[in-house]
Symmetry: C2
Subunit: 291 residues, 2 copies
């Protein structure tokens, strides 16, 4: 496994792989890798000749009062994991190399970035889009893999790729969950046992919505009222939002139909967690039984 520290070396490596006619699969991460990341890596391994994983805790996507400093970092553990997954190259640049002095170029997907997460994390997706585009330019992937746990991120990056005519396929991979339902997240490492137990209320509320939808309920307002109650009743948990929106425009919808999702964010023990459940357009839901 090649360990690459500088943008120049990454660009040279990518150019060399492309020249040899091989395809590149890319998994951008912020490190502190868990099973969810490894699911992405295995998907990339299946789809591409050469797999690149980047590890970069991107300061541009953290707000001034967010957890950039305390975001989990474990480069030694990450490298061990990636090596055992037969990753071809890992790219872990420094902040200074990705944002040198005088850096001033930003990419924004207007209209989608301000919704859901964007209401609580202004500027977050601008930082995400910019670093992902920069990494694409260095890694030259044929396909890039993103988890559906960060559904809004996936939707925005797919939109950016389409809009900018990026020559890369954006692949979404289903959320990996712990046996008890908790969505895989690097931030889970920061939870105490007690907080971790409380945090389960978010996946439980989403699971409740999924269950009710599978039984034929489609009324958003009613579903959300009961799901929010599940979270409200959990001690030590603050609900930031829980909404049901369409997965193209991210606007609230009145009915759960194919192409919508329920998504939410909570704060527990000083840790912010997100999760969602998607009702895909190609999966029949109760709302369109005849369809």
């Amino acid at each position: 496994m090649r360990q690459i520290r500088t943008p120049e070396e990454m660009a040279a490596c990518a150019a060399e792989v492309k020249r040899s006619g091989r395809t590149i699969g890319f998994v951008p991460t912020m490190g502190a890798l868990h099973e969810g990341h490894l699911t992405l890596v295995r998907q990339a391994r299946m789809c591409a000749d050469f797999v690149v994983v980047s590890i970069f805790v991107n300061p541009a996507q953290f707000g001034p009062n967010e957890d950039f400093a305390s975001y989990p970092r474990d480069i030694e553990g990450d490298l061990r994991l990636l090596n055992s997954e037969r990753v071809d190259a890992v790219f872990f640049p420094t902040e200074r190399e990705m944002y040198p002095e005088g850096y001033r170029t930003w990419v924004d997907v207007g209209g989608l970035s301000e919704k859901l997460e964007g209401r609580f994390r202004p500027g977050h997706f601008r930082g995400v889009c910019t670093i992902v585009l920069k990494l694409f330019c260095l890694v030259l992937p044929d396909a890039a893999f993103f988890g559906w746990k960060d559904a809004q991120q996936f939707i925005i990056i797919r939109r950016m790729a389409t809009d900018l005519n990026l020559p890369v396929r954006i692949v979404g991979v289903p959320t990996w969950r712990e046996p008890d339902g908790l969505a895989g997240s690097s931030r889970n490492r920061r939870l105490s046992d007690e907080h971790r137990r409380h945090a389960l209320c978010l996946s439980r509320a989403l699971h409740f919505i999924r269950e009710k939808v599978s039984q034929g309920e489609t009324d958003t307002e009613s579903l959300l009222a009961r799901a929010r109650r599940i979270i409200a009743e959990e001690p030590g948990v603050v609900l930031q939002y829980l909404d049901i929106v369409d997965i193209e425009q991210l606007d609230p919808v009145a009915r759960v139909v194919p192409g919508t999702m329920a998504a939410g964010a909570i704060l527990v023990g000083g840790v912010r967690l997100i999760d969602n459940v998607v009702f895909p357009a190609d999966e029949p839901t109760a709302g369109r039984k005849e369809g």
Copy 2:
């Protein structure tokens, strides 16, 4: 010469050329081609195996009160010219293909885009950067060629390419001028003979500055006062700005030294024209005779 109308066909053509190991030189234009454009094409021809020219009057870089509708268009004449220059492919997509419904991704080079031209054309460089990035993603150039006539555009695109780690070399080509000094511009076609004569005051004012600098003058304020008078004395001409700035930050400077430029914009007969003269860092000027 391949005539390409759709983004898909352009992407396929570029991928095919890259696979064959050939380099791509790219000249993005808005058409109504003149000798200045052909200078760029010839430079590309010298540097690359496969030369692509795009023709697209980009609506996103025109303000609501600007000349998008009246901007000169001459696709038949353009194709004839490019064919005789042995261009390999010309890409001229429609507006709908470049900005399909729901388009919402924008690239911005903060801090540089608001200065000089940006004061009079808010949003202009956001439109420029976005279309250039989109075209780069479709054409996959090894090198792209821009005229120094649009100096601020060149500086901003070079900054964007550096910041975003774009795998493309941005090459600046000196301004092509008519024998009487008028800088080549598609908009010159819209000038009557009389307005064209008046328009010369801008290149004359810039030439005055260059002359005085070559004679050892470096005081910006004094140079600009006299140069602005040249334009003020010309009938039917409105000066929008004439400034001397450094070519990295585009901030006004007190002295003309290597790495600065004088740049201005005028309105004449309803046509807006720009021009500049650069004092490059690698060309000795009076201000740093010993250097």
